[in-house]
């Protein structure tokens, strides 16, 4: 397996963007149950903007440059809640990655995810359990933190597991009652459907992990 440098990160993020776009309709449908049905669209607009930005980065970008390009892309093109959320989250990731040439340990990914989580909480005031993308992101971070002491796991395998953890956690938001964003207006009526933002975050992380591990994404 190659180390995770900027080039691999770029490829992985592009793979994630393709998966997001492939799941556009599902994400809209989930958002439509309790929100306004546009989450797949906002994420697709963001994914396309990231893809454009990443393609125009110079060869061999640093990991920090890749995350910052994603942040700028979300900032300019997306809007809504999710636009500034990911703008802040990717900017925080870029901050953590800034001094790194490669992202090859569980530890650095834990730091990245925690920084993203903090930035998200700061941007939108949400905390764990509010039925947002934090509820996919933080379980993935937890898993990586627990994995960081295990010698038997490669970073690629650990990230794959983190992706699976995020997907399961996103699914588990089904039972939560939303307390942020549009869905919160429905109160108890918001339970029974998974959270759209948690689902898209999990798809993104899982697709990136698969790409880094050289697996097919879909």
């Amino acid at each position: 397996m190659p180390v995770i440098e900027g080039e691999q990160l770029r490829t992985a993020l592009l793979a994630g963007c393709r998966v997001i776009e492939n799941h556009k309709d599902r994400l809209c449908a989930i958002d439509g149950e309790t929100g306004d049905g546009d989450h797949g669209i906002s994420m697709t607009i963001g994914a396309r903007a990231i893809a454009r930005a990443l393609k125009s980065l110079p060869a061999k970008p640093s990991p920090g440059e890749v995350f910052q390009a994603a942040s700028d892309a979300f900032a300019d093109d997306v809007g809504a809640t999710i636009g500034p959320i990911y703008e802040s989250a990717f900017a925080a990731a870029a901050g953590v990655a800034a001094q790194q040439n490669s992202l090859d340990s569980c530890r650095i990914w834990v730091d990245i995810l925690h920084a993203m989580g903090d930035a998200i909480s700061q941007a939108g005031g949400a905390k764990r359990g509010d039925k947002t993308l934090l509820d996919a992101l933080l379980p993935a971070a937890d898993y990586l933190a627990s994995a960081s002491n295990r010698q038997d796991l490669s970073i690629h395998t650990a990230l794959l597991e983190a992706g699976s953890t995020a997907l399961a956690a996103a699914e588990a938001t089904r039972d939560m009652v939303a307390s942020k964003g549009r869905a919160s207006r429905l109160g108890a009526r918001s339970a029974g459907h998974p959270d759209a933002g948690a689902t898209s975050f999990a798809l993104l992380l899982d697709a990136m992990a698969r790409s880094l591990a050289g697996k097919a994404t879909g």
Binding site: D25, C28, G37, A75, G124, R185, R189
Partner: protein
């Protein structure tokens, strides 16, 4: 999905192009997704900056022009604009007298307008905000700060725009806009869903004999579902909800019967006929009224009713204002008499 569009992901770009081309008498482009009055900044005038997701026309960009807003930012369909176009709009509207941001209480709008505000303040521009929360059905009275903004903005912006047009200070414009918002109440019903073009499916599904009470302006579901009833019964329910929240009996009011997009004006007049009957019975004096599509949700069928309690300042502002915006025009109350 049947829509007069090209690639759905190009729709906002194309509609903004069309909007700007069609309204060049009144506005100019200030960025890819922002516009300002052609004569902005108006020297000495507080700049009123508005915006929100697309899909609500005439709101929000349609109100840029003399007597209402100075500049506006366009978001994607039903999505708040990012901070960037809000900042572009702000810089264009900024004459030195300060800026007032006013928009509906949605999380995305709050975050993006706040980011723009922070940015403008670092540039030394004075910025205040009034976040509108007229929808009584979206949260109980003791959580009024959670209520979202729906069509009531149309009434509130009459007052804000007129005050700014009279060259009042930022503090004065802020105060009267807050007062207008605090005295405005709305509630709506939806008969059908709507289709966000890039998704292509109705946002929610609803049976042929059902309606949503208390829905917003983004095709999101309402607070409860009930059976379709005669218009008069529905209007009675809405008026009860409004009057239970703020006692309009015996007051002077401005009134809007707003169509969500798919409901013909003819039906809105059937609604108005009932509303004014109720107002007479409750001794509510309608000093200003408007019936029409102002704050829409694409092609959704449905309507909302907004009432704004008027004190003498607000009454004076709304009745004597002259408005010439892209999509809404109003002459002074006296225009006919003086003709």
């Amino acid at each position: 999905m049947k829509k007069l569009i090209n690639d759905p992901f190009d729709m906002v770009e194309e509609l903004v192009d069309g909007f700007i081309a069609a309204n060049s008498r009144i506005i100019r482009r200030t960025g890819r997704r922002s516009i300002a009055r052609i004569d902005a900044p108006v020297p000495g005038k507080v700049g009123i900056v508005v915006g929100g997701g697309s899909g609500h026309l005439p709101a929000f960009a349609g109100y840029v022009g003399r007597g209402m807003a100075d500049a506006a930012a366009f978001g994607n369909i039903f999505a708040s604009p990012p901070a960037k176009p809000i900042i572009e709009a702000s810089l264009a509207a900024h004459s030195g007298a300060g800026l007032l941001y006013t928009y509906g209480n949605y999380q995305g709008d709050c975050i993006n307008f706040d980011r723009a505000m922070t940015h403008c303040r670092t540039l030394g521009i004075q910025v205040e905000k009034v976040v509108l929360n007229d929808d009584v059905l979206s949260a109980p009275r003791h959580e009024a700060e959670k209520r979202r903004g729906i069509a009531g903005l149309f009434l509130v912006w009459h007052v804000a725009g007129a005050k700014a047009e009279r060259m009042a200070s930022l503090a004065e414009v802020l105060a009267v806009t807050q007062k207008a918002n605090a005295n405005t109440r709305s509630a709506g019903i939806g008969l059908t869903s709507c289709t966000v073009p890039a998704y292509g499916q109705p946002t929610f599904s609803i049976a042929d004999d059902e309606i949503e009470i208390g829905l917003g302006i983004h095709g999101e579901p309402g607070i409860r579902r009930t059976h379709l009833k005669p218009a008069n019964a529905l209007v009675d329910e809405i008026m009860d909800a409004l009057c239970a929240d703020l006692d309009f009996a015996g007051e002077d009011v401005a009134l809007l019967v707003n169509g969500l997009g798919g409901t013909p004006l003819e039906e809105l007049y059937v609604v108005y006929q009932r509303v004014q009957t109720i107002c007479k019975a409750k001794n509510i004096s309608i000093r200003f009224s408007h019936v029409g599509e102002q704050v829409t949700a694409l092609e959704m069928a449905g309507a909302s009713i907004s009432l704004m309690r008027l004190d003498s300042e607000m009454h004076d502002l709304i009745s004597r204002s002259e408005i010439d915006t892209c999509l809404y025009r109003k002459l002074q109350d006296t225009a006919y008499a003086s003709h």
